[in-house]
Symmetry: C2
Subunit: 136 residues, 2 copies
Amino acid sequence: MTRQLSPTDEPVRLMVCTTCRAPGMPSDDPARPGARLHAALEDRLARDPDLAGRIAIEPVECLSVCKRPCTVAVSGPDRWTYVYGDLDAEHSADTILAGIGLYAETADGIVPWRQRPTEFKKGVVARIPPMKTGDA
Amino acid sequence: MTRQLSPTDEPVRLMVCTTCRAPGMPSDDPARPGARLHAALEDRLARDPDLAGRIAIEPVECLSVCKRPCTVAVSGPDRWTYVYGDLDAEHSADTILAGIGLYAETADGIVPWRQRPTEFKKGVVARIPPMKTGDA
């Protein structure tokens, strides 16, 4: 199928909760799954120059989805914002970047359901509409 | 205590999911709890001219928090965005508006924990950081 062109050259924001931790893990453990997922995403993105120009990874201290680690959120100009949970620190990075790559190619952030990674279908925590046209 | 002044005259956005429904409720029932909550919020806000100038209510078809009805989200310039669930269509409107009023008075959207309504403390679904200064 023909992919939509991005309406803007501005990268989308992929926010990664670095404080997400497994149930029972000590809060002072530096190897939190969220931090490991963030590192894995940075590593994978650095190896893909095309995708790296379209996604800006941003570490965040707590997205307040503490019961469903690991967690990411994605937003972009004129697009719906999505929050995803239940992601795996070790195995989700490639899937996340593929899904966010599809998001970056949409005008409104809504990727057709069938194209969404299973992890995104099952892990959606919330979505938030973009500002209306004419808003600040 | 002295309240912070709002950093901007622009109202904050209170997005209300109008499609939220109770478990087992028929999907074609027009009296969805989300729609009733939206109506209650509009009604209460219309009676409070001061608050009405600081909060703009926006109905949304699905915030994708379907397991925790009713649901709202709040965002504003330079502020963290918050999503709240488990809200009651009949009894939460005043509490929501009071909580969002406090949010509107902050510069960054972060209301001190002790001031937050219990419904917000227990019902937080996610939070998303504002764009960094200098971003679009």
